[in-house]
C-alpha cells in the first residue's frame, strides 16, 4: 500500500484530505508544518508528499527544497489557496523547486485523486 504524508497547518484540511485518500486505499500520515513533515519523511520515508504552501514554522516551498535535497526522487504535490494571485505565484515557484504537480484550493475529491494517480504513475 502506498504511503502518503499530508503537510498542512489547517487541521480540517488535513482531516479532509486524509479521509479522501484513505477511502481510496492509501496509508496516510499527517504533519502540521514543514519541519515536522521533513522529520517524518526522514524517519519513515513516504511514496508521496502533499504539502500546503502557507504554514508556520516551515512553509511549503522551503519544505520542498529541503525534501528534494535529501530525497531527489520524492514525488510531491503542492497545494495552496487559489483565491489570491500571490498564492498562485508561490505555487508556481514550488514547481521550480521540485513539486511534481500543483493544486489550487479549493479542489474536488476527483481532482485530488486524479493528481495523486498522475504523480504516482509518472
Amino acid at each position: 500500500m502506498s504511503r502518503i504524508l499530508v503537510i498542512d497547518d489547517e487541521e480540517l484540511a488535513r482531516f479532509t484530505i486524509r479521509e479522501i485518500l484513505e477511502s481510496a486505499g492509501f496509508e496516510v500520515d499527517e504533519a502540521e508544518n514543514g519541519r515536522i513533515g521533513v522529520e517524518k519523511q526522514q524517519a519513515t520515508p513516504f511514496d508521496l508528499i502533499i504539502t500546503d504552501i502557507i504554514m508556520p514554522e516551515k512553509e511549503g516551498v522551503e519544505t520542498i527544497i529541503d525534501l528534494k535535497q535529501e530525497f531527489p526522487n520524492l514525488r510531491i504535490i503542492a497545494i495552496s489557496g487559489g483565491g489570491r494571485t500571490r498564492n498562485l505565484d508561490f505555487l508556481k515557484l514550488s514547481e521550480r523547486f521540485g513539486a511534481s504537480k500543483l493544486l489550487a484550493k479549493p479542489f474536488t475529491e476527483g481532482q485530488l485523486l486524479e493528481a495523486v494517480a498522475e504523480v504516482m504513475n509518472a
Binding site: D9, E11, L12, R14, F15, N33, I53, I54, M55, P56, E57, K58, E59, G60, V61, E62, I65, D66, Q69, S80, G81, R84, R86, N87, D89, F90, L93, R96, F97
Partner: protein, 459 residues
C-alpha cells in the same frame, strides 16, 4: 531510574486530579480521535504528561518549568443556566486566546470543563505569573466583559521531587508587577535605571544608527531604508528604538531620541545624495513627541533639515494609542506632511479600527511582528486579521519583523504592500541604492546553501 520517574510523575498527575494514564489500555484516550479537536486535546495531554515526567526526572538539569492551573468555577457560576449551552463556545474562545498567547515551548491542556493546566518554559517566576494573570484577564474580559478575579482563578502548582504537590494562589497582576519592580538586578530594573538615573547625555552617548531595507512587494524593489537607533544593552546585544529608554520613558527622552534619529537620517541623506543613490529614508517619530510641548521644536528642525529633500523622507508614526480620534491623527499628519513624502503609522497587532484613518493622509498602516512571546501560528493569524481590517479601508499595509520564510510567504500572500525583517535582508550600516527583488531570491538562497552543504559533505 526510568521506573522511578514513571512512578513519581504518576503520583504528581494523580495529585492534580489527572488519573487516567495515557498508555493504559483501559483508558480510551489513545483510541483514534474522532475529530481534529479531540486529536489536539490528546496531543496536548500527552505533551503535558511528558513534560511533568521530564521535570521530575532526577537527572533533569534544565531550569524548572513553571506549572499553573486556571479554575473556571466562578465563570460557570456567573453564567449559571447559560453555561451548559455555551460551554463549547467559551472553551473555543479560550483556546483561541491561548493559541495567541503561548509560545511553542509552553504547554497547556484542558483537564475538564473548569480546569486548565499550563507549563511555561524558561522564564522567571514573576514573568510566568504575570503572563498567566494577563491571559486570565484576557479570558475574563473576552467571556464576561469584566476582570473580576473570582471568575477565573489562577494558581501556581508547586511540585517538588519526589511527589509533593502544593497549590497556591498566584499573586495578582499588580502585585507581580510591584515585585518585579522592587527586584534588584533584573533586566527591567536595568532599563528603568538607565532611563531614570542617567542624564540625557549619558543615556544617548553610545547610540548608533542602522538601516533596515524595506521591500515594496507590488513593485518588487527595495527602495526604502528605515533608520533604527540602537544601543548596547550591557549583555552583548542591543536595545532597539524606544526600548533603550526603559518601560516608562519621559517625554524629554523620547524627544531627544527622535531628534537624534532625525539628525542621523539627515546625515545619511546627504551621503545618499552625494553618491547619487535614489533610495528613500524612513524614520520613526513617537506619538509623544508630536503630542507634547516639544512638537514645534521637532518640526522646526525637520523643516531646516529636509527642506529641499522632503521627497526622500518617510515618517513612521509610532506609539499611537489605540482608538486615537480621527481629528488628532489628522493634526499629526498635517504637521508632518510638509516635511516628507509619505507618512506611515504603526499600530498594535490587534488594532482593527482603521475606518476613521482612511482620509487623514496616511500612506500606510503597519504592524511590528517582533514578539518573542508569540508562536508563528499566532503571528500568521495576526497578519491575516490586521490586513483584513486595513484592506477594508483601502489603506496600504506594512509589516516589520519578518524573521522567517514562513512569515515572509504568509505576509506576501496575505497582501502586505511593504515588508522588512531578517528573512528578507540583514540590517546595514549605510543605506544603499534601490535594488530589485524577486519572490524566488530567498528560496534560491536556501537551495544554493543546501547544494553547497551537500557538495561539501560528499567531498
Amino acid at each position: 531510574m526510568a521506573k522511578e520517574q514513571e512512578v513519581n510523575s504518576d503520583s504528581v498527575l494523580e495529585s492534580l486530579g489527572i488519573k487516567a494514564k495515557l498508555s493504559s489500555p483501559e483508558h480510551p484516550i489513545l483510541d483514534m480521535p474522532t475529530s481534529p479537536q479531540e486529536a489536539h486535546d490528546s496531543v496536548a495531554r500527552v505533551t503535558f504528561e511528558a513534560r511533568i515526567g521530564d521535570m521530575l526526572h532526577p537527572q533533569n538539569k534544565r531550569p524548572r518549568d513553571r506549572i499553573f492551573t486556571f479554575n473556571l468555577t466562578g465563570l460557570r457560576s456567573a453564567l449559571s443556566s447559560k453555561w451548559e449551552k455555551s460551554t463549547k463556545k467559551v472553551h473555543s474562545r479560550l483556546h483561541n486566546i491561548l493559541e495567541e498567547s503561548m509560545i511553542t515551548a509552553d504547554v497547556y491542556f484542558q483537564k475538564d470543563d473548569v480546569t486548565y493546566f499550563f507549563i511555561l518554559s524558561d522564564i522567571d517566576l514573576s514573568m510566568a505569573q504575570l503572563k498567566m494573570q494577563v491571559i486570565a484577564q484576557d479570558m475574563r474580559m473576552a467571556i464576561a466583559g469584566t476582570n473580576e478575579p473570582s471568575l477565573i482563578t489562577v494558581q501556581d502548582v508547586q511540585v517538588s521531587w519526589p511527589k509533593q504537590v502544593k497549590l497556591q494562589d498566584t499573586p495578582s497582576k499588580d502585585d507581580v508587577i510591584r515585585t518585579m519592580l522592587s527586584t534588584e538586578d533584573t533586566h527591567r530594573q536595568f532599563l528603568y535605571n538607565q532611563a531614570q538615573e542617567n542624564s540625557a547625555g549619558q543615556l544617548f552617548a553610545d547610540v548608533k544608527f542602522i538601516y533596515r531595507p524595506m521591500l515594496a512587494v507590488r513593485t518588487r524593489v527595495i527602495s526604502t531604508y528605515i533608520c533604527i537607533p540602537i544601543k548596547p544593552n550591557g549583555h552583548g546585544g542591543y536595545f532597539s528604538g524606544y526600548e533603550m529608554l526603559g518601560a516608562h520613558p519621559s517625554i524629554d527622552n523620547i524627544f531627544e531620541l527622535d531628534s537624534l534619529t532625525q539628525e542621523a537620517v539627515n546625515n545619511e541623506l546627504e551621503t545618499l545624495i552625494h553618491s547619487n543613490l535614489r533610495s528613500l529614508l524612513a524614520l520613526p517619530v513617537h506619538f509623544e513627541t508630536l503630542a507634547s510641548h516639544r512638537r514645534q521644536q521637532y518640526l522646526t528642525r525637520a523643516r531646516e533639515l529636509f527642506e529641499n529633500h522632503t521627497n526622500r523622507i518617510v515618517y513612521e508614526l509610532v506609539g499611537v494609542p489605540d482608538h486615537i480620534p480621527q481629528s488628532r491623527m489628522l493634526e499629526f499628519t498635517a504637521a508632518l506632511k510638509p516635511h516628507c513624502r509619505a507618512i506611515m503609522a504603526r499600530f498594535p497587532p490587534t488594532h482593527g479600527a482603521f475606518e476613521s484613518y482612511r482620509s487623514v493622509g496616511l500612506h500606510a498602516v503597519g504592524v511590528d511582528l517582533y514578539s518573542p512571546n508569540k508562536t508563528e501560528k499566532a503571528m500568521l493569524k495576526t497578519l491575516e486579521q490586521f490586513i483584513d481590517h486595513a484592506h477594508q479601508t483601502q489603506l496600504r499595509t506594512y509589516a516589520h519583523g519578518i524573521h522567517s520564510i514562513s512569515l515572509y510567504t504568509s505576509a506576501v500572500c496575505a497582501g502586505f504592500d511593504y515588508l522588512d525583517g531578517y528573512a528578507l535582508s540583514s540590517v546595514v550600516d549605510k543605506a544603499k541604492d534601490i535594488t530589485s527583488f524577486s519572490y524566488d531570491m530567498i528560496y534560491q538562497g536556501i537551495h544554493d546553501k543546501n547544494t553547497a552543504r551537500s557538495v561539501t559533505a560528499k567531498e
